[in-house]
Symmetry: C2
Subunit: 130 residues, 2 copies
């Protein structure tokens, strides 16, 4: 099938699919007219990539997952390890954002938000008293 149909079937924009081919993730056959010709297997792999990316795996991690996916003899431990590493990254990011949220909330609460120029947020940014 052409790239347009493949795009509809896997949920990725054509541009992204071409990009994935360029970096060697999913390489379709070509028709006599030079058009890309995607098999069902190709589309499965594109769907796979779409889900993995949505779960926050990087392209390089996706490449690993895809080769594990294709390797029917893989150990499930390998996949689990990748997932758990990603999980701890997510935890770390959440913690950072929570800290950021605390700081911003404190600043916003301290600020009157009126027409006057006094602003604890600006003062804090300027390095004023904590």
């Amino acid at each position: 099938m052409n790239i347009g149909k493949a795009s509809k079937n896997c949920g990725l924009p054509s541009k992204t699919i071409r990009y994935y081919e360029e970096i060697g993730l999913v390489q379709p056959l070509r028709g006599a007219n030079g058009y890309r010709d995607y098999s069902e297997t190709d589309v499965h792999q594109l769907k796979f990539l779409q889900r993995a990316r949505r779960l926050g795996f990087s392209i390089e991690e996706c490449r690993d997952l895809l080769s594990l996916y294709q390797d029917t003899g893989r150990a499930s431990a390998d996949v689990k390890a990748l997932t758990e590493a990603k999980l701890s990254e997510v935890d770390k990011k959440i913690a950072e954002l929570q800290a950021l949220k605390t700081t911003l909330s404190r600043l916003a609460e301290a600020c009157q938000g009126n027409e006057r120029p006094d602003c604890p947020i600006i003062d804090d940014l300027a390095g004023g008293p904590r």
Copy 2:
């Protein structure tokens, strides 16, 4: 003072300081030898930028904050609005990451992590039964 000293004083790498000049954030004078010459005011503004960036404000938001900082007649409400917008962005990102965490945890728990090839994580990515 030269860029190296300014860098030490504000906590930003020289590369970043040059970049901020390039995009019109903080533009120092130049000495006869062509070296950048940072005033105390410049360094204050660089420090301000460093803190705001650390709090997750984008460069364009920093530009706004900086002009509010420089405008001693600003209304604190303007600053508060910017902060609260950023706060709700942070909230949204946290919620997304929490959802992601739930999915990843569920997958990791379902996976035995042994030498056998059965892997619910791969199955899920491949579009298997939910």
